[in-house]
């Protein structure tokens, strides 16, 4: 869970950039202090979140007073049976969808009080999204799809060329640079999902939200995508993902288990690199089975 200082520096914006959210804002942010751990900033705090749909005059309480927080640099998985409200929770906390009640504080700002325009700006500059379906703009190349949010963003004063170079760097890092000029239907599913990760990272978001990012991939492709997400997390990006796959969730530092719109349990992965992946998975599975998974 802990992220070393040295690692954190890798994804810190360059000097002069992002000054708006540094000095003053960060001082006001709530800090969580845990015994024996570094001071961590809470990037996302959810309080009594409720979401109710009314379909055919029948009330469906999808989320019931959900509360939790995510610290900077964490990698949190949300698991639960189908219809438990996982995706609804993800969309609500990322400001993509409204909530019926409660609060979502992102970097100290209450998303419920933001206008659609402000939410869009926040999503563009501070958040990244990866979906199960690898939606991209049909008529753009992979690289153009990746850099499109950067071109739209005014977060930095980078030139178009610099933004393109950043996109290429990300593609290189995720080993898909060879398909930069391809159309979106000329690449494999794994490559496309990695391209989606690049796109989500292009504006250096503080939090990466992923909804079943490996849901439509085979095992190998799924591993590749998870490797990249873990790598990004280690570099300092906070990740919150929804998944059905215990193998995927086992690579996260924390797992929230959602049942009928309530968090039924919270699992913390053992810290340190000495625990083998298989053991992590087994331990998580045991925990899940206890909860009736």
């Amino acid at each position: 869970m802990a992220v070393k200082d040295g690692e954190n520096k890798k994804v810190t914006p360059k000097d002069g950039e992002n000054k708006k959210v540094t000095a003053k804002d960060r001082e006001n942010k709530k800090m969580t202090v845990k015994d024996g751990e570094d001071k961590k900033m809470t990037v996302l705090e959810v309080k009594d979140l409720c979401k109710t749909y009314v379909v055919n005059k029948r009330q469906n309480n999808v989320l019931r007073n959900v509360s939790f927080s995510v610290d900077e640099g964490e990698m949190v998985a949300v698991m639960g049976p189908s219809g438990s409200g996982k995706s609804t929770l993800l969309y609500a906390v990322s400001g993509m969808d409204g909530a019926t009640g409660g609060n979502v504080l992102f970097d100290g700002k209450d998303l419920m009080g933001l206008s659609a325009k402000e939410l869009a700006r926040l999503r563009l500059n501070e958040m990244g999204f990866i979906f199960q379906q690898m939606y991209m703009m049909n008529n753009l190349t992979i690289l153009d799809n990746i850099v499109l949010p950067a071109m739209e963003s005014k977060k930095t004063s980078e030139s178009r060329k610099e933004k393109i170079m950043r996109g290429e760097d990300l593609m290189r890092k995720l080993d898909i640079i060879q398909v930069a000029d391809n159309d979106i239907n000329e690449v494999s599913g794994g490559q496309l999902q990695r391209a989606c990760i690049c796109r989500s990272m292009i504006n250096r978001p503080r939090v990466l939200f992923a909804d079943e990012p490996t849901g439509s991939l085979n095992r190998n492709a799924s591993d590749e995508v998870m490797d990249e997400l873990v790598k990004l997390n280690k570099e300092g990006t906070t990740v919150m993902m929804v998944t059905h796959d215990a193998r995927v969730a086992a690579r996260c530092s924390r797992v929230l288990y959602l049942v009928d719109g309530n968090i039924k349990g919270e699992y913390k992965s053992p810290a340190g690199g000495d625990v083998k992946e298989k053991d992590r998975e087994r331990m998580l599975n045991n925990w899940l089975m206890e909860l009736g998974w």
Binding site: Y135, L148, M151, E152, R160, D183, N185, E186, R199
Partner: protein, 787 residues
């Protein structure tokens, strides 16, 4: 099971199905209405002349002993199968006044007759035959009521040779023979009782009576030859001559025809797009069906049945819509004509049925892909992954504009086929509007003046009427012109006054006789005329002919024809070709000293005033009113106004132009709304992902506006670019039929390249914007709900 799939499909894909259904209704409406218009216009004048009973050949006699002048010929000529005679009284333009004594404007020689004595059928504005008129009531033909702003129930007074009658106007009737602007005579139809009051007057009875004879024949030449030898004939012409008199009306009708064809093309293009578009979206379902073992034929039949049922329902609605739509288009033509067809409503049924067939055919063609795809290919929405050429053309790195423009331009360039229907449909409509604009601008200019008369500063409407001229001699007319010139000079407006007269003379060439219109100017200069080929006639033994006359008689430059003047047969050499819209180009131009006599006068143009002190345009405008007051003339016009007056259709054409602009705007609105809605339905996932990435609503709306805006821009630019050559290509033949073979079009670059393209473009942008606002309802969270 088959119908359950169909039912679910209709329910589940409601938006796309509704859009397609709307297109089908529109297509059926345009096609059914269009086919009706095409059939109606193609048979337009024939249908009208048949219904009116005009026959194959018409002869008009006038003057003393005119009644009965044709009797011998009608009995003796074997080529005449049947004939119908009606007795008329001729009057002059100053006969008709209002209750206040003010003279009413009318055209050429007036014709009075009773409804009981009519040999042809007159139709009211609802196209119902007029069979009875109450004593004291009267109907007028042509534009009389419109020009004088009269309405049914108004009172007019008739004063002819001392007889004074008062009438209540019952309305306008359609007169197949004289109702066209080119024939231009206003005919008044009254009761037998009132007609007898006129005929009781000795002067009218002896000098102003005449006959109109409608002859059924197959041998026009024999009848024409016989008519040429008959006394008192002031007009003789075949059915085709009368038909060409409706050419101005037919211009409008043919424009309606082209408009209908244009709308048919647009609706079919859009329909093809919709069906292809909706079927492409079905490949996933098709794949599933194939995967579970349904045969190609079974899968195809499912969609064909679906489209057949939608087409059937849409065609029924479209059929009902086509009836008022077709009537609306034809109404703009048929104020003077009764347009219709014997097929009636069956033509609309045929048009609607045609749409059903076309849709089923489109569905059959579009589902053809089903055969070529494997279930997996189909599930991949037709994408096999095989591509040898990059689809994407633009690169964001090098693009100078914003992201919305980049995505829009990239979409249009990457999938031009998708936007082709917009480009074709908008392009067609815009092109047609621009062609109309060019035609109207030309008709509203003096550019066609040289096909009628020579160009002068002012044109004064004849004050004495044709009959008035015919009462005098040629010398009297020349004296009148001199007097006018001198009077103008005395008043400080030195000028030469001239006039063009048209006579009817028998002409012989190559052993064949013709009765032809001969045009002669008094006080004109032959060098003022424009000749297509050859040299201007230099003396009375030389003439110029129109290409139409040359074609009819076979007489070309260098040939000699014989003109039978009174008491003198003169051999004249053809020295030049010229173009003329007088009498549809069927005229000969005589030299000024040729011995033509007023007794053969068939028509007269108006006084032409050429100021010799070279006044400015402003000064000419000021002199208009002075000239009118000086001679007590009804109207004095400048060259442009006179040309517009002579053409007679500029106003109607302008109305048609605005009607078509309105239709184009409606088409643009419909196509834009339907296409934009299709795009939104298709791109829901892309819109949602853009929003999830943080794109503002304005960026998404901007992307959509740019995209259809670019397609509309391409359409309007293309249309504007080809509008001038296309106008020449399509409209010149229509002018050619009327005698103008070489038309100098008036092009207004502001209208062609700016105003109208901007109207189309602006409409597209506004409508796209309004429709694209629907994208606001697609939320970022919808990425989870998209299939």
């Amino acid at each position: 099971m088959f119908f359950r799939i169909l039912k679910n499909d209709l329910k589940r894909k409601k938006t796309m199905n509704i859009i397609l259904f709307l297109f089908i209704v529109l297509a059926a409406m345009f096609v059914a209405g269009g086919v009706n218009n095409v059939v109606t216009v193609m048979n337009g004048t024939d249908y009208y002349l048949d219904k009116a009973g005009v026959g194959d050949f018409v002869i008009v006699t006038s003057g003393e002993h005119a009644v009965g002048a044709l009797d011998h010929m009608l009995k003796a000529e074997e080529a005449i199968q049947d004939y119908r005679l009606e007795q008329v009284v001729f009057g002059s333009q100053d006969d008709i006044t209002g209750e206040d004594g003010k003279e009413k404007e009318s055209k050429n020689v007036l014709v009075y007759q009773s409804i009981e004595n009519s040999a042809i059928t007159f139709f009211d504005m609802d196209n119902e035959p007029v069979t009875r008129i109450e004593p004291g009531h009267i109907y007028a033909t042509g534009s009389f009521m419109e020009i004088n702003k009269l309405k049914p129930g108004d009172v007019i007074c008739l004063e002819h040779s001392g007889v004074e009658l008062k009438f209540i106007l019952d309305g306008t009737v359609k007169d197949a023979l004289l109702g066209s602007d080119f024939m231009g005579n206003t005919r008044f139809i009254m009761s037998e009782e009132d007609m007898n009051k006129l005929l009781e007057n000795q002067t009218i009875y002896e000098s102003y009576r005449g006959e109109i004879c409608y002859i059924d024949t197959k041998n026009f030449a024999a009848v024409a030859s016989a008519a040429a030898k008959s006394p008192n004939v002031i007009f003789s012409g075949t059915r085709s001559t009368i038909k060409t008199a409706y050419m101005m009306e037919m211009i409008i009708a043919f424009i309606m025809l082209v408009l209908s064809v244009c709308l048919i093309v647009v609706s079919l293009v859009v329909l093809k797009f919709s069906i292809t578009f909706t079927i492409t979206k079905e490949f996933r379902q098709i794949g599933v069906m194939k995967a579970i073992g349904l045969s190609n034929g079974r899968v195809r039949s499912l969609y064909i049945v679906k489209y057949f049922m939608m087409a059937l329902a849409g065609a029924v609605l479209g059929f009902f819509g086509s009836i008022p739509f077709s009537r609306m288009l034809l109404d703009s033509v048929s104020k003077k004509m009764m347009l219709g067809n014997d097929g009636g409503i069956l033509v609309n049924v045929f048009g609607s049925f045609l749409v059903v067939c076309v849709i089923v055919l489109f569905a059959y063609i579009c589902t053809g892909k089903v055969k070529r795809f494997t279930p997996v290919d189909a599930i991949r929405s037709g994408q096999t992954g095989e591509r040898y050429k990059n689809k994407t053309i633009l690169r964001i790195e090098k693009f100078p504009g914003g992201n919305a423009l980049f995505m829009a331009l990239n979409d249009v360039l990457s999938s031009p086929g998708r936007f082709l229907s917009v480009i074709i449909s908008f392009g067609f409509c815009t092109l047609f509007v621009l062609m109309l604009v060019n035609t109207t601008a030309t008709l509203n200019s003096p550019n066609l003046l040289d096909t009628l008369v020579t160009e002068s500063h002012l044109y004064a409407i004849l004050d004495q009427g044709l009959l008035g001229i015919m009462e005098g001699t040629r010398e009297d007319m020349e004296e009148r012109l001199d007097e006018m010139g001198e009077e103008l000079t005395r008043k400080g407006m030195p000028a030469r006054v001239c006039i063009e007269l048209l006579y009817k003379y028998q002409v012989t060439f190559d052993g064949r006789d013709y009765v032809l219109n001969c045009q002669q100017g008094l006080h004109t200069d032959h060098d003022q005329y424009v000749y297509l080929e050859g040299t201007a006639p230099q003396n009375k033994y030389e003439i110029a002919v129109t290409p139409q006359i040359s074609e009819m008689t076979g007489a070309g430059i260098g040939d000699t024809v014989t003109i039978h003047y009174d008491g003198e047969d003169m051999d004249c050499m053809v020295t030049a070709y010229y173009q003329s819209m007088n009498n549809m180009g069927n005229t000969i131009r005589l030299y000024e000293d040729a011995p033509a006599d007023i007794s053969h006068l068939a028509a007269a143009m108006d006084y032409q005033i050429d100021f010799t002190d070279d006044p400015s345009e402003e000064e000419v405008e000021l002199r208009k009113e002075r000239v009118r007051e000086l001679f007590g003339l009804q109207e004095v016009m400048n060259a442009t106004e006179y040309c517009i007056e002579c053409m007679g259709v500029a106003d109607t054409l302008e109305s048609v132009q605005f009607l078509f602009l309105a239709i184009t705007i409606v088409v643009v609105i419909l196509v834009t709304v339907l296409m934009e809605k299709s795009f939104i339905a298709d791109e829901k996932s892309q819109i949602a992902i853009l929003k999830a990435m943080g794109f503002q609503d304005t960026a998404v709306v901007g992307w959509h506006i740019y995209r259809l805006g670019l397609a509309a821009l391409a359409a309007t630019v293309l249309a504007a670019a080809v509008s001038i050559p296309m106008t020449k290509l399509c409209i010149t033949p229509i002018f050619g039929i009327m005698g103008a073979l070489d038309v100098d079009y008036r092009i207004d670059p502001l209208q062609i390249f700016l105003l109208y393209p901007c109207i189309i473009l602006g409409t597209t942008v506004i409508v796209t914007w309004a429709t694209a606002l629907n994208t606001k309802s697609i939320a970022a969270a919808d990425t989870a709900n998209i299939e």
